[in-house]
Symmetry: C2
Subunit: 373 residues, 2 copies
């Protein structure tokens, strides 16, 4: 059944909108580059060791760009070492105007996120953009429904998608015209996923700058994953989005996993195997959840495009999961391993995982084209 | 800002496809009825106490229909008491043909899920449908890409969306024509969300029977939530789907929460308040995650349409979350409570939750229209 897959499109067709290419450090964003996955640290930035260790975990999970908050001087001063040690480019998040942005640039950050609406003094903004241009630092114009500039809010009466787009277009044009600077990307975030979608769609019609897509204040693991998936799924199907930050009130590493799950299911990027599993029911003869979890964690380190299955029932498992490349099903002390719907091995339950991982490795030897390079 | 919301559509427009109305017990499905949320127990069905306690938890979370597996005789015999004590209608999941289906009907189940492709003996199916008709038991024709009947698989070579639809149409027509029985609903599930979507879309063009929508073997909490949200979000935006089962390798109660998060974000159903929260960053001055979790758990018992915010920073919180009806932000021992973007109270951090809940209740006294009845 394995190679029958090609007869039917496994993913929706996505035609990506063409955007300019910009760079955060060595990482190219936009154009035909892969949709880049980013996240933000939740540690106090001045705690250098903790921050670097979180960045390392994010990097291991597949994160390609990392943002850090710089609420104060001591956080900014930590940036030099963070930038030096980080395996991925570092973006400083400048929440309010002031001198912190300049200092962050001096520390060597590769990107800066600004919210121009919060700059009361236009000349400060000009100076900052000049400094970014000198250092070729990528600037994200980060529009947020919750912090639009007063003029826009007054005109639109409400932080609607049109108001957000008006603000974004205005700042992009200003920076391009006044400063002749193009190393820009744009985000337009609301905590309402539908407003977020509408804002990005409207903006994409008016500009070809690459888009950092995401919903803001999405909430915890479940509500946040639902909201982000709705918004990002919708936008990607329309071809919109060049870099993705899933925002969750949770360990930021989860943001990276959610991002890749969304990208994988749209056929846009695969980093590690898909693991399907039955939801367990009264038929289940094995403690499925820990078994599933072990397979998922192991699989995250296998850089290959595979579909693995973990099933709770020896009778139905192999048939129901025949679209998987390989799978296991367990019950009453015995486990089976199947490959493309056919049972290839019966083992004692305690040997199941080890034997399964060996079979996956054997499959990959037979199918080296499945490795992701 | 609160009542400005009405100026901009907060949710996408969804025009539901008209389907027939069917009944599982007293619960009407299809037509203009709310999209019904269901789940499936994961306890061994013969463990009556454990199963009923899981059903109670599902019911408390908003589950309206529950399915149980009947892999063996002792599970079937447990049904009488389960049906009698369950606060919601019980559907028996008949995986293979045989006498278990008849026995389940005798125990009083209000619904039966069958997979006609697994019936080798047509007369057994006929007898079972007759028995369902006599008892007015709703039948779900549950097509699964992993268990299509051999004739269909041979003809289509692959369990494609078209093959699944062909199988479903065939069985619906058979039951309608031969048995003049219409208390039917249909599902067409694959572990690939895009195939699932395509199958439902094709079927909906050919039939007006109500649809039970869901992805099968979706995986654990994160990958499963992503897959279900992509598929169900897509289908609901097209107006397709009358009852929903989110399938997760996790506690089934999570399936119900995910279901309502999807429905809420599409403007289709709200059961309890939305809680937005910042993702925490190096600016965060409070231990946000446990605070957020407490608000979420409290809010699940408030049957009202509200948007609450939990923010990690006193300076930016109220502004960024001004679209929320009420919110809290904390930092350095002090917490603030804001209502429609305006700070209304400053309290000691340890009194924050209690004071916040009181303010929510006060808000609801001023806005009784927000209660969900």
């Amino acid at each position: 059944m394995g190679n029958m897959r090609r007869l039917v499109a496994y993913y929706p067709k996505v035609k990506r909108k063409k955007t300019r290419v910009v760079y955060v450090g060595q990482v190219a964003i936009g154009g035909e580059n892969p949709i880049r996955v980013q996240s933000m640290t939740s540690t106090p930035t001045w705690q250098i060791k903790e921050t670097l260790s979180q960045i390392e975990r994010l990097y291991q999970a597949g994160c390609e760009l990392v943002r850090v908050a710089i609420p104060d001087e001591k956080s900014v001063l930590a940036l030099k070492e963070i930038v030096k040690e980080s395996p991925i480019p570092v973006i400083a998040d400048l929440h309010f105007a002031g001198t912190l942005g300049f200092k962050a640039l001096e520390q060597g950050v590769q990107g800066l996120r600004i919210n121009p609406g919060t700059f009361k003094d236009r000349s400060k903004l000009d100076d900052l953009i000049r400094a970014c241009k000198e250092r070729r630092v990528c600037v994200r114009i980060g529009i947020n429904a919750g912090s639009l500039e007063p003029e826009i809010l007054e005109r639109f009466k409400y932080p609607s998608p049109s108001a957000m787009v008006e603000s974004a277009v205005r700042w992009v044009e200003y920076i391009v015209e006044k400063h002749d600077y193009y190393n820009l990307k744009v985000s337009l975030k609301s905590s309402n996923w539908w407003h977020t979608v509408k804002a990005y769609q409207l903006f994409a019609r008016r500009s070809d700058f690459p888009l950092h897509v995401g919903v803001t204040e999405a909430g915890g693991l479940i509500p946040g994953t639902v909201k982000n998936t709705l918004a990002l799924g919708y936008l990607f199907l329309k071809g919109i989005g060049d870099t993705i930050r899933v925002s969750l009130t949770a360990d930021p590493v989860e943001e990276v996993y959610v991002a890749y799950e969304i990208l994988r299911n749209l056929g846009l990027r695969t980093l590690y195997p898909e693991v399907i599993a039955c939801p367990t029911c009264g038929r289940c003869e094995i403690d499925l959840m820990p078994l599933y979890q072990k397979v998922v964690e192991w699989a995250r380190n296998i850089k290959a495009n595979l579909k693995l299955a973990v099933m709770g029932c020896v009778v139905n498992g192999p048939g129901e999961a025949r679209l998987a490349d390989l799978g296991i099903a367990g019950g009453k002390g015995v486990g089976i391993i199947f490959r493309e719907g056919k049972i290839i091995k019966k083992v004692k339950e305690e040997d199941l995982l080890k034997a399964f991982f060996e079979e996956v490795e054997r499959f990959l030897q037979d199918h080296p084209e499945r490795f992701i390079t």
